[in-house]
């Protein structure tokens, strides 16, 4: 199965520059997730690969051959849409067989393929039903079934889980990952949900305003974000950004509310005036157990989730969330002492937002 290459792809809608000079190399069999906020160009990019949008400049190649001038049907790509796009006037069987019929497969082949896909997705019992008689999750399976029956080179999934409720989404996420493992094909998955991106992807491509902000393995982006945007986008609750100042020759850090804590983190390139934005993920906080602690916080709101507890506090106007052990006794309007895992925190330039 061939690999996919995007070279300097640009897309304009009138005066709007939706995709800006995007280059991407996807080796065969990879599960890649395009993620970003609404309007970042992720769906446009996916639809350009499918041939549903014409790119303004650049090139898209599949297996070394440019597919830019090919109509969608000649690209041998399968796609799953957000709305499932099932044909309401066809049964589940015919919906799954649709692409095979379009490609003039024999009835025997169609039957074999539909049977294989429906068994894999556990929808064998619904083949004679119409889409309106199925639940949201079942419809989604049919939509996936329609994509996998064809021997496509590439699978494109455009926010396939966003119409499902939270519980069903968790289950389907696991199934999609299992499906990728079984099929061993290239998946390109678009979502605005960072949890979907983190859990599914072998590689995340994070987009903003049509530009690739950062790409890499999920944990790489999570642990070493390139800038404030990437750091803030991944993680839930998101990373806390605290304006701090290095003092005493770099040995201590002054927080906005005047507290000082010993600085043991590494800064490869210290800012000139010592001021920078300190990125601390909620899970980098922990309740101080012994005598020593890094900072004190007056907890304002406590949100227990069962497995973890989120405590919010503010440092002179800066809202901060700490993720704490569920068994810790934390109450609102009480001061607690916290430690910070300095080595895992991130530092960003106050002006450019880039990580040091």
């Amino acid at each position: 199965m061939p690999n996919l290459q995007l070279r300097n792809v640009d897309k304009f809608y009138g005066g709007v520059h939706a995709v800006k000079d995007v280059s991407l190399e996807v080796p065969e069999g990879e599960f890649i997730v395009l993620v970003g906020p609404s309007g970042c160009g992720k769906s446009t990019l996916l639809r350009s690969i499918a041939g549903l949008e014409e790119i303004s400049s650049g090139d898209i190649a599949l297996g070394g051959r440019s597919i830019v001038d090919l109509p969608p049907r000649d690209r041998n790509i399968a796609m799953v849409f957000q709305s499932y796009a099932l044909y309401p006037y066809l049964t589940v069987y015919e919906n799954i067989a649709f692409g095979l019929r379009a490609r003039k497969f024999s009835d025997g082949d169609i039957e074999r393929q539909v049977k294989w896909a429906s068994e894999m997705l556990a929808i064998g019992d619904y083949l004679q039903r119409y889409p309106r008689e199925l639940s949201g999750g079942q419809r989604q399976r049919v939509a996936i079934g329609r994509a996998i029956v064809r021997e496509a080179d590439l699978f494109l999934l455009d926010e396939p889980l966003s119409n499902l409720d939270a519980k069903l989404r968790d289950g389907m996420r696991e199934e999609i990952k299992r499906l990728h493992k079984q099929l061993k094909k290239t998946f390109i998955y678009v979502t605005h949900d960072q949890i979907e991106a983190m859990t599914l992807a072998e590689r995340i491509v994070l987009l903003r305003d049509g530009i690739v902000e950062q790409q890499g393995a999920p944990l790489e982006l999570f642990e070493r974000p390139k800038n404030l945007f990437v750091a803030g986008f991944l993680g839930s609750p998101s990373m806390n950004f605290i304006e701090v100042e290095l003092e005493e020759g770099g040995a201590a850090l002054r927080l906005p509310d005047g507290q000082s804590l010993a600085w043991t983190g590494s800064l490869t390139l210290a800012p000139e005036n010592g001021e920078f934005i300190w990125g601390v993920r909620p899970e980098h906080f922990s309740v101080a157990s012994g005598e020593s602690s890094d900072l004190e916080a007056l907890i304002e709101v406590v949100q227990p989730t069962g497995s973890r507890t989120f405590g919010s506090f503010s440092l002179a106007g800066t809202h901060v969330v700490a993720e704490l052990d569920a068994r810790t006794e934390v109450a609102a309007d009480r001061k607690i002492a916290l430690n910070v895992d300095m080595e895992r925190t991130a530092c960003f330039d106050k002006l450019t937002g880039e990580a040091f």
Binding site: R73, M79, F81, Q82, A85, P88, F98, R146
Partner: protein
């Protein structure tokens, strides 16, 4: 609510339904009755509500004299022009919706053609037909009805096609269909109810046309409304022929509307079938 009140309410509703149905059905009954009455019964006063016998003389005369061909002419012109207008209009509407053919205002411009009083264009068209030598031919009448119905078809189909989720078409394109195949295998089934409802009305417009048929036909392709008027004379009026001919004109309509009823109701109550 007690059972008595419920019964009265039901009876009142039934009575209203019967009254309304009678109001609509009586003219058709009266027409049918005239077509089988004796001349004496037709002119009798007080009126004869129920004909004494089932006389088919009026119908027999129409078939014997060859006048019944007018119904066949109407069927051919209305039928063929409906098929043409639906095919061309459907494709044109798709083009306007999906490719924005003609920009934002083409659809309005097209429907505005329908607002011109037909009589204003009747004589220019007659002169045009004379020069093209297509007066009193199937070709001429079919062309005219097709052209005249196209704006209506395009306008209606445009609305139905707009309702179809774009992703259904895109999914079919990715799955391996050409744009043409998408048109027939996705867009047409999705807008089926609206398509047939529009076709019925298109057929009715052509079927009921009197003005153009009067001006553009003479003897070969005379249609049934023109034929009916021929029985009104200054000396005498052939009521049984008028009744029989009118019934021949009404029956196909009853058949068409009856068989297409579910599409008409669905097409015009829901706007279109949704996914």
């Amino acid at each position: 609510m007690n059972r008595g009140a419920k019964g009265w309410r039901l009876a009142a509703r039934l009575a209203c339904a019967v009254a309304v149905a009678a109001m609509f059905l009586f003219p058709i009954y009266w027409l049918a009755a005239i077509s089988i009455k004796t001349p004496e019964e037709i002119f009798a006063y007080p009126p004869v509500w129920i004909p004494s016998g089932f006389r088919l003389d009026g119908y027999a005369t129409l078939f014997r004299d060859g006048d019944a061909w007018a119904v066949w002419n109407s069927l051919v012109t209305a039928g063929v022009s409906t098929v043409l207008a639906m095919v061309i209009g459907f494709i044109a509407a798709y083009s306007i919706v999906r490719f924005r053919t003609g920009g934002d205002h083409l659809a309005i411009w097209i429907i505005s053609q329908r607002m011109i009083p037909p009589i204003c264009v009747a004589f220019p068209i007659f002169l045009l037909f004379v020069s093209l030598r297509i007066v009193d031919t199937y070709t001429g009448l079919i062309m005219l009805y097709t052209a005249f119905n196209l704006p209506y078809v395009i306008w209606m189909m445009r609305g139905f096609i707009q309702e179809i989720p774009l992703e259904l078409e895109q999914s079919a394109l990715v799955d391996g269909l050409s744009r043409w195949a998408v048109l027939w295998k996705v867009v047409l089934p999705m807008s089926r109810a609206g398509f047939f409802a529009t076709a019925v009305f298109t057929f009715i417009f052509a079927w009921n046309d009197f003005l153009f048929a009067l001006i553009l036909t003479r003897s070969d392709v005379i249609t049934y409304p023109v034929q009916v008027t021929g029985y009104f004379g200054s000396q005498s009026t052939f009521w049984s022929k008028i009744g029989a001919m009118s019934m021949l004109g009404v029956l196909p309509m009853i058949f068409v509307v009856g068989t297409m009823q579910r599409f008409i109701v669905r097409g015009f109550s829901m706007g279109a079938v949704k996914g």
